[in-house]
Amino acid sequence: MSEINLANIVEATLFAAGKPLSTAQLREVFEEHERPDPDTIKEALELLQERYQSTGLELVRVASGFRFQVRQNLSDWVARLSEERPQRYSRALLETLALITYRQPITRGEIEEIRGVAVSSNIVKTLLERSWVRVVGHRDVPGRPAMYATTRQFLDYFNLKSLDQLPPLAEVRDFETLNADFGFAEPAPESAEAGAGTATDAAQSAANAPAQDAEKHISDDYESAFEQPDEDSVGDVISREFD
């Protein structure tokens, strides 16, 4: 029988859970009198990190916590385990998902406006059923349409810790150039396109419940993060994930 120690308990818990667990959730499996503090849990996670260094598994951090997963260089073999081919997603679904991801919170109407085409109910239903998106409120306009945002499950599914790990949204070219090309006299007022869009969103939802508003501010922060070059998302070493 192996020793009962903190690292082994954390290891066993993570494998038994079969889903990512946060530090707080890991602490919950201990009785109050023996509950380690978060730093001690982190030490145990680091120890496990090391323990699995030369194995076929790795301990990673995703949005909702820590999980063991198969190292990606072994995925060819593991993929053969299942008869089914991995699911493919339609362009319509991916574009809708991209708009929700980068423009959250966003209504279906706003998605349709940008895509220039109706969004089928099936797509929205699929995204909701997969728990990739959720309704975070309703825009204070006629019809009170639902506003969608992404979830932690979405990030978990795509192996991400946070939204700012997503590839940044492509830049839009300066409209001054555009106007020059077309020989337009006035500078387009939309030159600050992204910023203006966000501001309108914020104004529209300003009348909403304060809770939603608070949420929105959070997303705004993250949205602005997309526009900037990403500093630390790429190849984030695991040791930094424990900070």
């Binding site: 066993a12 494998f15 038994a16 859970a17 598994l57 790795e58 999980r67 063991f68 997963q69 198969v70 990606q72 995925s75 593991v78 993929a79 299942s82 081919r85 699911q87 493919r88 362009r91 319509a92 991916l94 574009e95 998902l97 991209a98 708009l99 991801t101 980068y102 940008i114 895509r115 220039g116 085409v117 109706a118 978990d156 599914y157 795509f158 192996n159 991400l160 790990q165 997503l166 590839p167 949204l169 492509a170 839009v172 070219r173 409209f175 555009l178 106007n179 077309f182 020989g183 337009f184 006299a185 006035e186 387009a188 939309e190 396109e193 990403d230 790429v234 190849g235 984030d236 695991i238």
Partner: protein, 285 residues
């Protein structure tokens, strides 16, 4: 290691099998579909669309913006350099073709056609700077929409390239040990019971009963206790139900409880002779 932003199109290091179906053409176009056994990756140069392919072509585009983008990209043009007039011509031909084939046209395509027609007509007229102060030029508007759409089209492709669960990322689990399940009992506050009682009584409108008001709970409690002691078939001596050590109050409460039980026909009392010992028994039919 997780490296979510890596993975340029077609060179994903995560899993070469991630991309299914025929390989993507180098120019970055999606194959529209397989029509009559042949993969259709490009629209014919002369814009002729075999009738049976029209439906798949329409399905291949995510709407009028996507079709326009395609037309622009096919000419290897930057969006900023497009000749709206040329593109309009092509777009119109597509739409007319769809129409000629009795195709049920999506409203969005017609709307776009109308917009393009407007742009074209404007270009034929001399430019009137002053008039356009508060009205945005439809060309600028269209180009902005195209650019915006293209950003998200690219973002969708990027998301598709991200490593994802069950394709590139495989989750792990181990069988749990044998676990004895103990379900914790719900907590209840006394207050909750009182509130529940007052609500049910309010509903039943029974607060006005004098009977209930007078009744001391100790009597009810003692009734239960007495009944339990009488649960056997046998007779119990009446006096054995009293406890002297409880004092006068206890005797009174027990007596009241027995009286109430008799009244409710829950017990019967038997006295075999005058002034003889009284016995009590639970009533059994």
């Amino acid at each position: 290691m997780s490296n979510p932003t890596a993975g340029a199109k077609g060179t994903s290091p995560f899993n070469p099998k991630a991309v299914m179906g025929p390989p993507l053409p180098q120019q970055g176009e999606m194959p529209f579909a397989v029509v009559m056994g042949q993969a259709l990756t490009e629209l014919p140069k002369d814009l002729y669309i075999p009738p049976q392919a029209l439906e798949v072509i329409l399905e291949a585009f995510e709407g009028p913006l996507d079709l326009l983008l395609y037309l622009i990209r096919r000419q290897n043009l930057d969006i900023l350099d497009i000749d709206v007039s040329d593109i309009t011509e092509q777009y119109m031909q597509y739409v007319e073709l769809m129409d000629a084939l009795q195709f049920e046209l999506a409203a969005e395509y017609l709307l776009m056609a109308a917009m393009l027609a407007e742009i074209k007509s404007r270009m034929l007229l001399p430019r009137q700077v002053a008039d356009e102060e508060d009205e945005e030029d439809p060309r600028a508007q269209l180009i902005r929409r195209l650019q915006e759409y293209e950003r998200f089209k690219k973002a969708a492709e990027d998301i598709d390239e991200l490593p994802r669960v069950d394709r590139d990322v495989f989750l792990t689990s181990a069988a749990p040990p044998e676990i004895e399940r103990v379900r914790p009992e719900p907590e209840v506050g006394l207050q909750e019971i009182l509130v529940a009682f007052s609500e049910v009584m309010a509903r039943a409108n029974m607060f006005e009963s004098h009977h209930i008001q007078r009744e001391a709970l100790s009597t009810r409690e003692r009734m239960s206790q007495v009944l339990e002691r009488l649960s056997g078939e046998s007779f119990m001596p009446f006096v054995s139900l009293f406890k002297a050590e409880e004092g006068r109050m206890g005797v009174v409460v027990t007596f009241l409880a027995i009286m109430e039980l008799i009244k409710e026909s829950l017990v019967e009392i038997v006295q075999t002779e005058a002034f003889g010992p009284i016995h009590v028994k639970a009533r059994v039919s």
